[in-house]
Symmetry: C2
Subunit: 298 residues, 2 copies
C-alpha cells in the first residue's frame, strides 16, 4: 500500500483488560488492517500497538481504554488509567505514550464511551437522535452517554454500573460481589456475579434457568433509573451477558411494567423494540467507536 492510498486513514485502539484491538481504516466497511494483542505489561502492550500504527500514515488515532481514566485535559495526569485491579496498569498514561511517538491528533476516551460513540456515529438511525446510552453488561458493567450529540464526561465519567438498585434479599439472598459496594448493579448482574451466584459460567446457564428472569429484573431496574434521570432517545445493550438474546424481550417487558405508564411517550408505550436494542455493530462498537473518534478530530 502506497502513502497515497493511505490518505485520510484513521487508527483506532480498544484497550481491554484481556486484549487490545488495533485497527486502521476509514469506517466499519473499510478496515485496512487489524490486530489483536494480549494485554500483558503496559510497556509491552503499548509498544506493540504503537509499532502497528507506525506502519501507516494516519490522519488521527482514537484511543479507547478500560478505566477508570483521567479524562480531564486540565489535569497533570490526563490520559492515564487511575485505578484498576490489573497489575502494573495503575497510573499508566496511555495517551502520553502515543503523544511521544505520533504527531497527529489523538483522541482519548473510556472504552464504553467509545462504544456509545461508535453506535452513534456509524448507524444512520442513531445519528437522527440527539441522545443515546450504551450499556456494556459483561465482565463489568458500564455505560457511555451521548447527550446533545456529544460524549458526556461530567466530574469524572459515568460509572452507571455501580448504581444502587432494589434488592429483595428474601427472593435473592446473593450479597453481590462488588468489592466496593456489594450489591450494586455490577455486583448483582455482571457475568462474574452470575457465575458466582449460580456456580457456573453465565454461558452455561440454559434459557429456562431462573437466572435469566432475575438478570432481566436487575437490568430493567437500572434502565428505568437511567430513563428517569436522563430520558435518552435510545438504549443500546452490549457486552457478553447480553449475547443471551432472550434477555431483550424480558427486559423490555419489565421496563414497561416498572414505568407503569408514568412517562407519556409513544416510544415507551409500545413494545420498545426500537428503544432497547442490541448493538448494531455487534461486538465491534468499541473499536469502531475509536475509529470514529479519530475521524472526528482528524
Amino acid at each position: 500500500m502506497t502513502t497515497d492510498q493511505n490518505k485520510n486513514l484513521f487508527g483506532g485502539m480498544e484497550g481491554g483488560g484481556t486484549k487490545f484491538v488495533c485497527a486502521v481504516g476509514r469506517g466499519p466497511d473499510a478496515i485496512v488492517d487489524e490486530i489483536r494483542l494480549q494485554t500483558t505489561t503496559p510497556d509491552k502492550t503499548l509498544s506493540q500497538a504503537i509499532a502497528f500504527f507506525q506502519k501507516y500514515n494516519l490522519s488521527a488515532i482514537g484511543l479507547a481504554s478500560f478505566g477508570p481514566l483521567d479524562l480531564d485535559p486540565a489535569s497533570p495526569t490526563y490520559g492515564s488509567i487511575t485505578a484498576t485491579p490489573k497489575p502494573g496498569w495503575v497510573g499508566t498514561n496511555v495517551l502520553a505514550a502515543f503523544q511521544f511517538v505520533f504527531k497527529v491528533p489523538l483522541a482519548f476516551e473510556l472504552d464504553v464511551n467509545a462504544a456509545a460513540f461508535g453506535e452513534y456515529s456509524w448507524i444512520p438511525e442513531n445519528r437522527k437522535l440527539d441522545s443515546l446510552v450504551y450499556f456494556t453488561i459483561g465482565t463489568g458493567i458500564g455505560a457511555g452517554l451521548i447527550i446533545n450529540r456529544k460524549i458526556t464526561h461530567g466530574l469524572i465519567h459515568p460509572e452507571a454500573g455501580h448504581m444502587r438498585l432494589p434488592h429483595d434479599r428474601k427472593k435473592d439472598p446473593f450479597p453481590g460481589n462488588c468489592p466496593f459496594h456489594g450489591d450494586c448493579f455490577e455486583g448483582m448482574a455482571s457475568g462474574p456475579a452470575l457465575a458466582r451466584r449460580w456456580r457456573r459460567p453465565a454461558e452455561m446457564l440454559p434459557d429456562h434457568h431462573p437466572a435469566w428472569e432475575q438478570e432481566a429484573t436487575y437490568i430493567a431496574y437500572a434502565l428505568v433509573n437511567v430513563i428517569l434521570v436522563l430520558s435518552p432517545k435510545r438504549i443500546v445493550l452490549g457486552g457478553g451477558v447480553m449475547e443471551h438474546q432472550t434477555l431483550f424481550p424480558s427486559i423490555r417487558s419489565k421496563v414497561r411494567g416498572l414505568l407503569n405508564g408514568y412517562l407519556a411517550s409513544p416510544v415507551l408505550a409500545g413494545t420498545m423494540e426500537d428503544y432497547i436494542v442490541p448493538p448494531a455493530l455487534g461486538r465491534r462498537s468499541g473499536i469502531l467507536g475509536a475509529l470514529a473518534l479519530a475521524k472526528k478530530i482528524a
Copy 2:
C-alpha cells in the same frame, strides 16, 4: 415607569400547583414588579398572569410550569401540560395562551429545569461548571439537569423523582405513596410520604426524630445514582423538605459512605460542602430561572 426605562425588561413566570409567581425585572437584584396568584382554573390563572405582563414592555418572557410537559417543539401539543392530578389542567397549552397575546420571544420549560437554570445562570461559581443537577424535594420530587451548559430534555424530560432505590422493608415497612410506583424515591421521601409515614407534617418532626436519618438515606441513594449515571459537577438540593438544614451534613456523609472511595475525584473525597449544596437563590431558583430563560432568548 416610562417605556424607555422598560428597555430590556424580562418577564418570568413560575406556575405551580398551588400558586403562580410572575415577575418582571432584569435579574435577582433588579426585580421591578412581582405578583403571586392562586392556582385556580387555567383560564382564570393564565388570564391574570397575562394581564400582569401586559402592563410592561418586555423583551422576552420565560414560562416555567409544573409538569409533565410536552417540551418537543415538533409536537402538535408543544407547550402543554400532558398529565396532572390538578383538575382542569390536563392538556392546557400554557405556551399557546401566551403566544396568542405576546409577540416577543417566549421560552417554555419545566419548573425544575427552570430552577436548575436559575441556579446555573445567576450564580457565578455555578457558571464556571459545565454541569449541575438541581433536585427539588418537597410535595413532589424532581430534578433539572444542566449538561454541557444546557438544560437537558431527552425523550421527554427527566423524572428522577421516580427512580427505584434500595428499600429494606424490615427496617422501613412503609410501602411508599406514589400512585404509579409505590416505593420509588418520591413515594418514599417526598413531603407527603413523610407526613403519611409519621402521621404529622414533615415540618413538625423534631431534629432528633429518626425520620430525618431515614430521609437522608433515601436522598443519598438517589444522589449516588445520579452521580454514577451523570457525574455532575454540582448537586443543588431545594424544595420544602430540604429546608430542614440538618439533612445536608447527613446526606453528604451517607453519599461518601455509599460511594466508598470508588470515584477518584478530590471533589468527592472531601466533605462535599461545595458539591451537595442548598440553592444559592433560596426559594427563588424557579422564578429567577424563568427570568434567566427570558434573558437568554431575548
